[in-house]
Symmetry: C2
Subunit: 201 residues, 2 copies
DNA sequence: CGATTCTTTGAAAACAGTCAATCTGTGTGG
DNA sequence: CCACACAGATTGACTGTTTTCAAAGAATCG
């Protein structure tokens, strides 16, 4: 299973087999069953986490008692609660598997050693952080500027692989709209696609 | 004016006078008049930018033609369009001064050299990135989970210094609500505060 | 299958947005 | 120093989107 991460890294950076061996030694493979929590609010999140296969989500319970999805992570994505990872404080978030998944985890201290030993990895790490920052900026813009329908379209375009893979109500909470609204939007769209594609030739 | 940045840095990291001199040499001081744009959509943003005094905002025009505020920056804050800075692509965003301001800017290449030469600065830089990531995560949660009123309260609590310093309609666009709604919320709150504080003893 | 979870649907209500008019404060030029 | 212009804020009436609530329908899993 570690091969998934190795392939991922080889595709993105110049890395020797020795360096890969260092990483492998620092990491652990973890199988997560469906609905199994990897992180529960109150715990401290002290690991780097790479999704080798499956699908996880990061969510948080609002003051209204409902769950709101901050982020999904599928094959070859990284997933962290930045707040807890960074400050070592108990997390306000939860991470759970949406299907049987395999993740590769690395304790924070070991990860930091790796970053020192392998400059290319450090560079990649920085790039990932920046990409994440950009994605957040775009998402914030979308949230403050778009209607429910626009957000729906954007999500489908940006994460085509996720839309059909996770429960609808989680996508709704990711977009900040109710499940009913999302259900209606989707219905509308299905209808329109049907109309457009049924022209007679 | 560079002293503002020097003081800022001394407060946060161990830094020698020689190192500060390096930074000073790489930076330029720029005065920005009220409403003057520092960045216009289409341009490339290739600098690090530190607000020594005044107030700027980063905003973007939506498909509806309205402007949406992504971020404010006041004294001792950094401001960037991550997307353009990172990828060197033309920006979709605008940056303008909301009052006469002084900013300290450093070209990207020189900044990267500084990061190599001054490890403590590099560490600070990383911390800032992480803090920004955390703030974004919290803001996204707020946007997907909160009503207009909750967002209003949270903004006032999180950025007390900004609320009274920038036009109301910009705060509204930062929260993703209309100026009228924000105006009404504020009125409600003023009324409630009056009621609470006028109890007879 | 049977039970649970998820989605859909309809009707009513709440919330926030739009439009348009008015008000307020600030700065400018006569 | 006043009057005017202008940007920003407020207000009311209305509209429209989205939420909520409740019930019924699929789908999924053991």
């Amino acid at each position: 299973m570690f091969e998934v991460l190795a392939t991922y890294l080889r595709k993105r950076i110049e890395i020797t087999d020795d360096e890969l061996e260092l990483i492998r030694a620092a990491c652990a493979i973890r199988a997560v069953r469906k609905w199994q929590p990897m992180l529960q609010a109150g715990e401290i999140w002290g690991i780097k986490c790479f999704v080798a296969s499956g699908c996880l989500r990061l969510y948080r319970t609002g003051t209204d008692g409902k769950d709101y999805t901050l982020r999904f992570a599928v094959d070859n994505w990284w997933l962290t609660d930045l707040e807890s990872y960074n400050q070592g404080k108990p997390s306000s978030y939860n991470i759970e598997a949406l299907m049987a998944s395999t993740v590769i985890v690395c304790p924070k201290e070991k990860w930091m050693e790796l970053l020192v030993k392998i400059p290319a990895l450090s560079k990649l790490h920085e790039t990932l952080m920046l990409n994440n920052g950009e994605a957040n900026q775009r998402r914030i813009f979308s949230l403050i500027s778009s209607s429910a329908e626009e957000k729906y379209n954007e999500f489908k375009k940006t994460y085509p692989g996720i839309f059909n893979r996770v429960p609808l109500y989680m996508v709704a909470s990711h977009l900040g709209i109710s499940r009913e609204t999302l259900s209606r939007l989707r219905k509308e769209h299905a209808k329109q696609n049907k109309e457009t594609s049924s022209g007679n030739l």
